[in-house]
Symmetry: C2
Subunit: 323 residues, 2 copies
Amino acid sequence: MAVYTNVSADEIAAFMADYDMGEVVSFKGIAEGTENSNYLLSTTKDRFILTLYEKRVDADDLPFFLGLMDHLAHKGITCATPIADKNGNALKELCGRPAALISFLDGLSVSHPNAGNCRQLGAALAEMHLAVADFNLSRKNDLSLSGWKKLATTCEDRADECQTGLGELIHTEMEYLSSNWPSDLPSGIIHADLFPDNVFFLDGKLSGLIDYYFACSDMLCYDVAICLNAWCFEADGSFNVTKASALIAGYNKVRPLADNEINSLPIFCRGASLRFMLTRLYDWLNRAEGALVKTKDPLEFLSKLQFHQKVSNASEYGADIKK
Amino acid sequence: MAVYTNVSADEIAAFMADYDMGEVVSFKGIAEGTENSNYLLSTTKDRFILTLYEKRVDADDLPFFLGLMDHLAHKGITCATPIADKNGNALKELCGRPAALISFLDGLSVSHPNAGNCRQLGAALAEMHLAVADFNLSRKNDLSLSGWKKLATTCEDRADECQTGLGELIHTEMEYLSSNWPSDLPSGIIHADLFPDNVFFLDGKLSGLIDYYFACSDMLCYDVAICLNAWCFEADGSFNVTKASALIAGYNKVRPLADNEINSLPIFCRGASLRFMLTRLYDWLNRAEGALVKTKDPLEFLSKLQFHQKVSNASEYGADIKK
């Protein structure tokens, strides 16, 4: 929600001279993305997003992220796409930071998705999963089991500052997930952060996916579980099975989930809840006084985790409806 | 530098239904303005800025601000202009806040203005001063002498937390300004906050002025002094007389300054320095832990004030050059 690196008019003009994209006519920092600085840039030819990658992004991962976006765009997936400069380079440097010019996507993210939004989201996720089958780069998921263990170890002692008993709950859940986490399911590249603010709609139709900066190699069905967590709970914490069923049906229609994937949905959902709870808890425990970024509530995902802990069967997500 | 009120896709669609400005295709919070929430909104017809007025703006002042922008636009001054809805209303409500749809201005603000920028700025300021001659609303300048006195009284006791001796300096300066502040000079509506980030340039030419939310009734020459403070000091604190001379010459060419105005420049410059030092000091002393907005450095304007205190004659600003 902030711009961390200020780019001057002279700096942006010099940067854009490397591209064949017209003259800069407008340049505004936008309150989007918690990891990077993003500017909306208009030229005499088109509109773009200019992203400066800040410290939380590992520069070594950028060829994977930009390559993935480029690959998806060439497969016909509507997504933000890096623009190459006159020399064919998409990964550049600006103000001492890695930077990339990205295509601008029209559309608005929905803050209260309906079942129709969820169905389209499911379909778009499945299309992405099919489209990456022949993408030849990979990136380890730092935020799966071993990453959670590290975060849990770091946070456990102080977790009760957030809520009494939270440290113990994290410990027990980590043990359960470590013993039961699936490993033999279809894998590929997952988005891993497909929350509603990363999906645009236009006239009620999904118009694009953005923010691939958590994408990584993992089991595809885990991505579905992340979306169930991100799209199917109401503001009061209740789970909307109509939306979940629509999301899964939308996915299934494009890439049918195998039985063992469907059966793994409850544990994947627990893992996804724990993952977002842990990163939010870490940020919450380490929030800087006076920071520009508001920390998100870890307890939102504690409540979701506790819901999933009670789910015994994927049918409770509506997974067997309209398969 | 932040968005304080989040507007959902549904809310913005409902809001825009009151206008004849096309369908919303994109809507992004921008990191601009410290007082209000600003969104860049694109429709099938055009681009706009949507401003939600937050608590620091007095809603009673909004008809003045919006009326002024509208008046200036009709006088041919290139400035952000409020757009009326289908019923002719420019001042609206959104998410419980006063809100206005404003025209989008192309252009970039310069972070390191050159003398050419300063000359154009001076001319644009003078054009604005001429254009408001027949504007029939007025607004008291809350941030002139009596306002500074209030701020000084509030801050004096704790000013030394910022720098030793600052409380005493403020007290002495307030006494000097109170005894010597001019009162009989040409008056009108002034912008009162024309810093480089409120002025756009395109291809080296000034393309527009924005952010009229400090505009008020006061002596016109005080606006020139604010600009000298905002445009003519280098990052190291030194005063660039070439830029100052260009700014004054640019102004003079459009609206020649009278001798008594020129002679008052040094005291107006002192007042302008004190004004920005005091508001920054107030914000600095009252900064909230974890606030979204970075406080600006009050001492930048202490250093400027100390420069102006040593100026005995407006010729030190280059005011007699190329009159």
